[in-house]
Symmetry: C2
Subunit: 408 residues, 2 copies
């Protein structure tokens, strides 16, 4: 079986190396040896890869020897067109591209189904952790009711440094950039866009219909301060950027990607640094928790190769590994959901603000930290529809909110 690799960056070259070096053990379940025939890329490749380099997608599409195509280009254009072309030419496609899957998954499944080939994307969420295949296959006998996960290593690294080493948000970001964990433009990671794409994919996998990133309430970690970390630490909890999806009793889906206050006894709270983790609830299994590296060349490339091996073993379309079309009505407006909130802000007159807060909420727990300035106040609210809580916050007399975080 020959494979083609589209996009020879970090993941693509990792896939090339694993396939080149793979022992007989790796493809023992496949009918024959697997090797890379083409690498589609425009940039200069090293001598070894240059021998396989092409820059015309039609060479792949028209070569009957190629059975599986790996898409590791990133972005939508031209990745989407190229994947469609491959599927429509009867080739299975394995993608590590979360943007593509989150935006175009349903269309790619349609094409895969029409051509009776496979479309797989295990590496697009949580890199080396086999979350996608666990949801589709390992928990196949379950109805999944909810998931929550740390889906972005960069933001988790920053929060971990803030929590464990008392760094400021900006110093932790700088360290992440110096260590190569954050891009020069870190927007996608720290504003939650990357995690929201993965949340969208997990929602689609768990609940069986395509949920798009723009349907998911998305908040980043840029507003989280050392003060917040300290207040949350005061009751043994931790702030984590969480992607969450939940199937509600009315059939709607609750989907949010945002910082959350996580209890210190929750396994998720112990996930540190660039690691990822997902907690899944199923009606048969109860709770399952998966943890591992969310990125990295070898971990991600290994997940791609695992999918390639699946495609070689079972090249036809597998509707178990797919989702259906969604509608804009599937997702609940985020602030209709019941939660409690952590709130920090500034006051003019502390005593007056405290009374106003007590008046506006049924249950409130004030928090304290060492050396807090006189005009700072932080508290936890009761559990209620978020929009009602937000209205109550707006109406606290003489109070300017600085941070609002949902409590798990």
């Amino acid at each position: 079986m020959k494979i083609a690799i589209m996009g020879c960056g970090v993941v693509g070259s990792g896939v090339y190396e694993i396939v080149r070096d793979m022992s007989e053990r790796l493809y023992k379940g496949c009918s024959d040896e697997i090797s890379v025939k083409y690498i589609l890329d425009k940039k200069n490749l090293d001598e070894e890869k240059k021998a396989l380099q092409i820059n015309d997608i039609n060479i792949i599409a028209n070569d009957p020897e190629v059975g599986v195509v790996v898409e590791a280009m990133g972005g939508i254009n031209p990745a989407f067109d190229f994947c469609l072309k491959c599927l429509n030419s009867g080739k299975s496609v394995v993608s590590s591209n979360k943007q593509l899957v989150a935006e175009k998954g349903e269309e790619l499944f349609e094409a895969a189904k029409k051509n009776n080939v496979s479309f797989r994307f295990g590496a697009s969420v949580c890199g080396g952790i086999p979350v996608i295949r666990t949801l589709f296959y390992g928990l196949a006998a379950n109805d999944i009711s909810s998931f929550e996960g740390i889906l972005n290593g960069t933001s988790n690294f920053i929060l971990t440094k803030m929590i464990k080493d008392k760094m400021t948000n900006s110093a932790a970001l700088k360290l992440a950039q110096e260590n190569g964990y954050a891009e020069k433009d870190p927007t996608d990671d720290i504003e939650g866009y990357d995690a929201a794409r993965k949340t969208a994919i997990l929602c689609s996998v768990c609940f069986g219909k395509h949920i798009y990133p723009d349907e998911i309430r998305t908040e980043g970690i840029t507003g989280i301060s050392s003060e917040d970390v300290e207040y949350v630490d005061s009751f043994g909890a931790k702030i984590k950027l969480i992607g969450r999806g939940k199937r509600l009793e009315n059939g709607k889906i609750y989907a949010v990607t945002a910082p959350a206050v996580i209890d210190g006894n929750d396994l998720i709270s112990g996930v540190e640094g660039v690691f990822n983790a997902v907690k899944i609830k199923g009606n048969k299994v109860g709770e399952v928790f998966l943890y591992g590296p969310g990125a990295g060349k070898d971990a991600t490339a290994g997940a791609v190769v695992a999918d390639v091996l699946d495609c070689v073993r079972a090249p036809g379309f597998d509707s178990t590994y797919s989702w259906k079309n969604g509608t804009k009505n599937d997702v609940l407006k985020f602030d209709e959901y019941e939660t409690s909130l952590y709130v920090r802000g500034y006051v003019k007159d502390k005593n007056r603000a405290v009374s106003a807060i007590r008046e506006n909420f049924d249950e409130v727990k004030f928090l304290s930290r060492n050396n807090a300035p006189e005009n700072e106040i932080a508290f936890l609210t009761e559990k209620k529809k978020e929009k009602d809580l937000r209205t109550a916050i707006d109406f606290i007399d003489g109070f300017t909110p600085a941070t609002v975080i949902r409590v798990n």
Copy 2:
């Protein structure tokens, strides 16, 4: 596709119920509807199940409509013969029976291969956690270098109660029995035999050749006392019953099931109650950690049904999901491995014993606990071949060891 269930105890009846109630979603990836045609059991079943009850294995073996047979009988006899008969009649077999898989896995794979059918056993280790399929498929691009896991919920419940609620070992066992977590005869769970079978299966899966339970050094938790829990807590660690396998540089396998001292920062140390968890190291992925319910009717039955669905989708033999024959030379003698030890014991003359201990070890760290009797002593040793450490312990003048536990 018709299936048959052999053994209608907790797991078997759970499988029956899931298949009976399964929606179209569950078998959407399969060619047709799945239903139970036969239940093989000798005991009295309820009216509903009685309609499907048989007590002759040949009815299953000779019925061409039956494609997959679930073995949930437990034990070796007659489960082994029945499974062989089914495989040899061209039926795929799914087993939740760890004893069968640990003792007879290689022979069953041989029969499956010969008849080009599937033999799967995801539910035999860690119940609802998809560990086996993660190792075979999700981490297919990896060479697994080691695993360690909490593989027995009963013993973990007992240890958790000792650690968190300061219960004695015997009181915690009694509570486990009252809660239905431990059998009236708890030997298999508390002496480590159950965990050793699962360790054997995981070794075989990870390292590709059949490792048998009797090749694995096995120690239970009956010797662990509240005093040990307290000493280990004094340096922030926890005692857990761990199944461990490691591929060594000389090609040998280190395999032990025994209490171990686990660092408090290790995710494994946070696994409490009847839950199970496994940490896996692969050469591509680094570290992956899986956590969830290790037993329970629905969780285990759900794992069986996931395997049944795999068999329906891919009925042929898949050598990726198999291991080869092993030899008695594959496993290192346990005390040839380098570890450090926690040691607790009794002395006649404390000062003399302390000097003797300092003399017998290169590095030693004495431990303390509140209200320790004058004649008690506990310490951690340097890392060294276990047999050398054990010899050194034997030669401490005036010292009677009570507990020895390996430190991770």
